[in-house]
C-alpha cells in the first residue's frame, strides 16, 4: 500500500504545523498519529467502526464514533483549519453534501480519491467487460465499500458546480512519488491512479477564528 503512504506524506506536507485538523474516516488513526507527531496538530477524528475508535483511543487520539453521512452536521462551522477525507468520499451515501459540509466545517479540505478514469481501470473494463479491480480498487463489486466512484473529470466538474476551488492537486500512483498536476487536463484523467486535492470555498463561511493562512504553492512540489 505504498500509494496510500504517499497519500499521507502529501497530507503531512500540506498541513500547517499546530493547526486544527479533523480527519473523517480516520480508521485506526495512523494519519492522525502522524499529523500529531510530525506537525503537532490538534487532531480530531470521526470513525464509523467501534474497533477503529478503540484503536485510536489507545493511541491517545480524540476520535468520535459516527457516520460521516449523518454526523458532520454536529460539527461547528469553521471549527477546524483543515478537514481530511482520505480515500473515503467515494464511500459516502451523499458525497456531494459531504463535500459541502467539509468546507463548512473547515477552511480547507484535503480530499483524496481513486480515479475511475485511470487507464488501467478503463482498459480492464474494456477488455474483460467486468468491473475493474486494480491496486486501489481491490475488491469485487459485491463487497466494495466504494459506492460512488468517479473520474477526475467528474470530480472537477462537481467542484465547479459547488463553487469549490481546487487550490492544488497531485496525482498518486502505486509505488511512485506524488506528482503535482492540473486536474482539468484530459491526460491526467488517464494517468492518475489516485488524486489528492486541496480545496477551499472562496467567499465561503467566514471564520470566527483569527485568519491564518496555510502554506501554499509548494504543497505538492516534487
Amino acid at each position: 500500500m505504498n500509494a496510500i503512504r504517499e497519500d499521507f506524506r502529501e497530507i503531512l506536507r500540506l498541513v500547517r504545523p499546530g493547526s486544527r485538523v479533523l480527519e473523517i474516516g480516520c480508521g485506526e488513526g495512523v494519519l492522525l498519529e502522524l499529523l500529531a507527531r510530525e506537525k503537532q496538530v490538534d487532531g480530531r477524528g470521526l470513525e464509523i467502526s467501534a474497533d477503529g475508535v478503540s484503536a485510536c483511543l489507545a493511541k491517545g487520539l480524540a476520535v468520535v464514533q459516527g457516520d460521516a453521512d449523518r454526523d458532520l452536521a454536529d460539527y461547528p462551522t469553521r471549527g477546524f483549519d483543515y478537514v481530511v477525507l482520505s480515500q473515503t468520499l467515494q464511500q459516502m451515501r451523499d458525497p456531494r453534501r459531504v463535500l459541502a459540509e467539509l468546507l463548512r466545517i473547515a477552511e480547507r479540505a484535503v480530499v483524496s480519491l481513486p480515479n475511475f478514469g485511470y487507464w488501467r481501470v478503463r482498459l480492464g473494463l474494456l477488455l474483460t467487460g467486468r468491473m475493474p479491480m486494480t491496486g486501489c480498487l481491490s475488491e469485487p463489486w459485491w463487497s466494495t465499500p466504494n459506492i460512488h466512484l468517479c473520474t477526475l473529470r467528474d470530480f472537477t466538474s462537481l467542484c465547479d458546480e459547488l463553487g469549490v476551488r481546487i487550490e492544488d492537486a497531485a496525482a498518486l500512483a502505486e509505488g511512485r512519488k506524488a506528482r503535482r498536476m492540473d486536474p482539468s487536463r484530459g491526460v491526467e484523467n488517464w494517468r492518475a491512479e489516485q488524486a489528492i486535492f486541496l480545496l477551499s470555498r472562496p467567499g465561503g463561511v467566514q471564520s470566527p477564528r483569527p485568519a491564518t493562512s496555510p502554506p501554499r504553492g509548494d504543497l505538492f512540489a516534487n
Binding site: S54, A55, L57, A58, K59, L61, A62, G66, Y75, P76
Partner: protein, 385 residues
C-alpha cells in the same frame, strides 16, 4: 473541616468517613445548607508524591462507595471489581482510586436517614433537596480534605456519568480526564416517568408514614421493592430478558394464581427483596429527584456546549451501549455534539451489546479495551508511569 486525612497513613485499601466541621457547610442548589456533613468513602492504591494519580469514581443511583471491595451488608464483591483492581483499567498499583457515597445516600454519607445535628432526630423529609451538582460539591470537599488538587480522571456510569459531566462543567481545572459511561446531560421525560413510578410506589406504602418511618420503627419495604423491580426492568433490555428468562417457568405447570410462575417474576421479586436490605427508601426518593432535576444545559441558556466551554483541556471519553434504552446512545451523542461544538477533546464509542443499561457494570471486553486504551494514553499525557 475538622480533619485533614494524613495521606501517609492511608493503606492500599482504605477509606472511612470524614465529618466536616461547622466552618465548612455544604451550600446546596436549593439554597439550603447542610451542616456537619459526613462523607463515607473508600480508597484503593496510594496517592503518588506528585498527587497526579487520583481517580474519582462516581457511583450510580443505588450503588455506593464499595467499588472494588466486598460490600459490608451484602458481602458481595465491589460493584466495579472487573474495572477496578489489579491488572484492571483502574489499577491500585498505579492509581489512587476514590469513591464516595453521594450526599443523600444511605451508606454513611449524610442523607435523609442520618441524624439532623440540629434536632438530634432522623432527617426524614426535613432533609433538604439535593442535586447532582450538590453531590459534586461534596466530592470536592472530600478531595480537598484528601489534599488532592487535580484528579487524573473522574469516571462514572449512569448517574455517575452525570456527576462526571457536572465536574467537567464546574471544575474543569481540577479534572485531567473525564469518562462518562451510559450517561446523559439531562433526564428525559421517560427517565422522569420511571422515577415517578418508583417514588409513588414508596409513598403508597403505608409504612412510609409520610417519610417518618424511621422514627416510627417501620420500613416501607414493599414500596421500595416495587420501585426497584420497575427500575430494574429499565436497566436491562428486552433481548437480555428474553435470553435470560424467556417464558421459563419456576416449576412445572401454571399455579392458576398470582405466585411467581415465571422465572422472570421470581427474579424481579428477588431483586426487590434484596434491595430493601441495603437501601433506604427516602434516599431513593431524594436521589431519583436529584437525577430528575439534572439538566446540565439549563444553567447555560439551554446550550449544552456552553457548559463545556471552559473544559477544552479536559480529555473526554464518552461510552454508550446499543441496547441501553434508559440512557440511549442519542443522549451520549448529544453530549459529544456539545463537546465538539465547544472545541473539547472528545472521544466516543458506542458499544455493541444486548445487555442494556447495566452493561456498564458487566464484563464487556470492548468497553474494557476502550477504557484501558484511553486511560493508558491519558496516563502518558499526565506523565504517569
Amino acid at each position: 473541616m475538622s480533619q485533614e486525612k494524613d495521606l501517609s497513613r492511608i493503606g492500599e485499601t482504605d477509606g472511612g468517613s470524614i465529618r466536616f466541621g461547622p466552618e465548612s457547610t455544604l451550600k446546596l442548589d436549593s439554597g439550603a445548607h447542610l451542616h456537619g456533613l459526613e462523607i463515607a468513602y473508600c480508597t484503593y492504591g496510594r496517592l503518588n508524591a506528585a498527587k497526579s494519580n487520583a481517580v474519582l469514581v462516581c457511583h450510580a443511583l443505588t450503588l455506593d462507595q464499595h467499588v472494588a471491595s466486598d460490600h459490608p451488608l451484602t458481602g458481595k464483591p465491589g460493584w466495579w471489581s472487573q474495572f477496578v483492581g489489579e491488572g484492571r483499567p483502574l489499577d491500585p498499583a498505579r492509581h489512587f482510586i476514590i469513591c464516595s457515597n453521594v450526599v443523600g445516600g444511605c451508606m454513611g454519607t449524610t442523607g435523609p436517614s442520618s441524624i439532623d445535628p440540629r434536632t438530634g432526630r432522623v432527617f426524614g423529609l426535613t432533609f433538604p433537596m439535593i442535586t447532582i451538582a450538590d453531590m459534586v460539591r461534596a466530592q470536592v470537599m472530600l478531595i480537598d480534605a484528601l489534599g488532592i488538587d487535580t484528579l487524573f480522571a473522574v469516571v462514572g456510569g449512569s448517574m455517575g456519568g452525570m456527576q462526571v459531566l457536572q465536574w467537567a462543567a464546574d471544575y474543569p481545572d481540577r479534572v485531567f480526564s473525564a469518562i462518562c459511561i451510559a450517561g446523559a446531560a439531562r433526564h428525559s421525560a421517560q427517565n422522569i416517568a420511571f422515577h415517578e413510578v418508583g417514588r409513588q410506589a414508596i409513598m403508597a406504602d403505608p409504612d412510609w408514614r409520610g417519610g417518618d418511618y424511621a422514627r416510627e420503627g417501620v420500613r416501607p419495604e414493599k414500596g421500595l421493592a416495587v420501585a426497584r423491580m420497575a427500575a430494574h426492568i429499565t436497566y436491562l433490555s428486552e433481548a437480555a430478558l428474553q435470553r435470560k428468562f424467556g417464558r421459563e417457568m419456576q416449576r412445572d405447570g401454571l399455579s392458576w394464581g398470582f405466585d411467581a410462575d415465571f422465572q422472570v417474576e421470581s427474579y424481579l421479586r428477588h431483586q426487590g427483596a434484596s434491595f430493601v436490605d441495603r437501601f433506604d427508601a427516602n434516599s431513593y426518593l431524594y436521589i431519583t429527584r436529584a437525577m430528575d432535576y439534572f439538566d446540565l444545559a439549563a444553567s447555560y441558556g439551554g446550550v449544552l456546549a456552553e457548559a463545556f466551554r471552559r473544559a477544552r483541556e479536559v480529555r473526554f471519553c464518552v461510552l454508550s451501549f446499543t441496547s441501553d434504552w434508559l440512557y440511549p446512545t442519542a443522549e451520549s451523542r448529544s453530549i459529544v455534539r456539545a463537546l465538539n461544538a465547544a472545541g473539547c477533546r472528545a472521544s466516543f464509542v458506542e458499544i455493541e451489546t444486548d445487555k442494556g443499561h447495566d452493561a456498564f457494570l458487566l464484563d464487556e471486553p470492548v468497553m474494557e479495551a476502550a477504557l484501558s486504551g484511553f486511560l493508558e494514553a491519558v496516563a502518558q499525557a499526565r506523565g504517569l508511569t
